[in-house]
């Protein structure tokens, strides 16, 4: 029975706990890159992150329609416009849409700022290179953000300019993930070959 009707790995509780732990570590240590391949069963890391974060209590926006109907069935979260969504899933290889306005929270409720899960490729090794500093980073560190369009970093600076308001970014490629919480200071360094 189990061989015929396996639940996809990223939706099994034990795998989700592992994925969530990895994500917490990435949030606590911005700039670190975690490889999720051992727990995704071949699913894209971005979908694994959403599976670990979302349930029926939260809202998710998918403005570029990257998710399939089957993904929504498993995620079980509410579909929401970007401005009201707690989580937003986007492709980061193109510049953010001009009308993309995520929730930034309020001074009394900064935790209501959105978490944006961004899909790229070549995370950590190639592409847009940034220098990071701030909480969770000893002095400073460098990170390659793969095919992330620089416009996302410019837009992040705008969204996070009134700390503690802002957004948290989770950047994923096929199997790896890195986090840029709003507390992290990001300096763009150019392209990493």
């Amino acid at each position: 029975m189990t061989t015929a009707l396996d639940v996809p790995a990223i939706y099994r509780p034990k795998h989700q706990q592992r994925l969530f732990r990895q994500l917490l570590d990435c949030m606590a240590r911005p700039g670190s890159v975690a490889d999720l391949a051992a727990w995704t069963g071949g699913a894209p890391a971005a979908l694994a992150v959403l599976a670990a974060l979302c349930d029926s209590e939260v809202s998710l926006a998918d403005p570029q329609r990257l998710l399939t109907g089957g993904d929504w069935d498993f995620l079980e979260c509410r579909q929401s416009p970007v401005a009201q969504a707690r989580f937003i899933f986007v492709d980061g290889t193109t510049a953010p849409a001009a009308d993309l306005e995520p929730a930034l929270g309020a001074l009394t409720t900064p935790e209501q700022g959105a978490t944006i899960v961004i899909r790229v490729s070549g995370l950590g090794t190639t592409g847009q290179k940034v220098r990071l500093s701030g909480p969770g980073i000893a002095a400073q560190c460098e990170l390659g953000l793969g095919t992330l369009h620089p416009g996302w970093l410019d837009q992040r600076a705008v969204w996070c300019r009134f700390f503690p308001l802002g957004v948290d970014l989770v950047v994923c490629d096929e199997s790896r993930v890195a986090a840029l919480p709003r507390t992290t200071r990001v300096t763009q360094m150019g392209m990493h070959r």
């Binding site: 029975m1 189990t2 015929a4 009707l5 396996d6 639940v7």
Partner: protein, 157 residues
């Protein structure tokens, strides 16, 4: 002559009353035959049993019950996908998925529906047996007060 199939709302109870080893074996085979996949993540846990009281019509929680849900997709005739589902008072995800497979096969008349129907009938017969035993036990607790009235009250004499 076959008897008409009972309403779908009774199927889960009937399948759950049938012999569980046979339910799992048949569902396992049919799941492979029909390329069954989960349509959403099966869930097991405690559900709150809500009840509306009859005076102020307020809803309150009477207690908790174990509930497992499963929803599967099966490859039906002409290559189209059909669905089966199960909501059972149990904490066994595999068993709920097995019931969802049988539900889908029987509801959509897929190959193996006759065997699923046999299990359904067995489950219904088992439910009836249990109901008869309970009815017999209940009937033995009944007291006919009219006989006491006919006999009169000895203390009053």
């Amino acid at each position: 002559m076959t008897t008409p199939i009972p309403p779908r709302s009774l199927w889960m109870r009937a399948f759950a009353a049938a012999e569980s080893d046979r339910v799992l074996a048949l569902a396992g085979r049919l799941a492979i035959e029909h390329g069954a996949t989960h349509r959403s993540a099966p869930r097991a846990g405690l559900a709150l049993l809500r009840l509306r009281e009859s005076v102020m019509l307020d809803t309150f929680y009477l207690g908790e019950i174990p509930v497992t849900t499963a929803r599967v997709a099966l490859l039906g005739r002409d290559g189209l996908h059909v669905e089966g589902g199960a909501v059972v008072m149990d904490d066994d995800v595999e068993f709920a998925a097995a019931l969802a497979v049988l539900d889908g096969v029987l509801a959509h008349g897929l190959a193996g529906a006759a065997e699923a129907r046999e299990l359904l009938d067995e489950g219904l017969a088992q439910i009836e047996r249990v109901a008869n035993v309970r009815a017999a036990m209940l009937s033995r607790t009944k007291v006919d007060f009219s006989l006491m009235a006919e006999a009169g009250d000895d203390n009053r004499a």
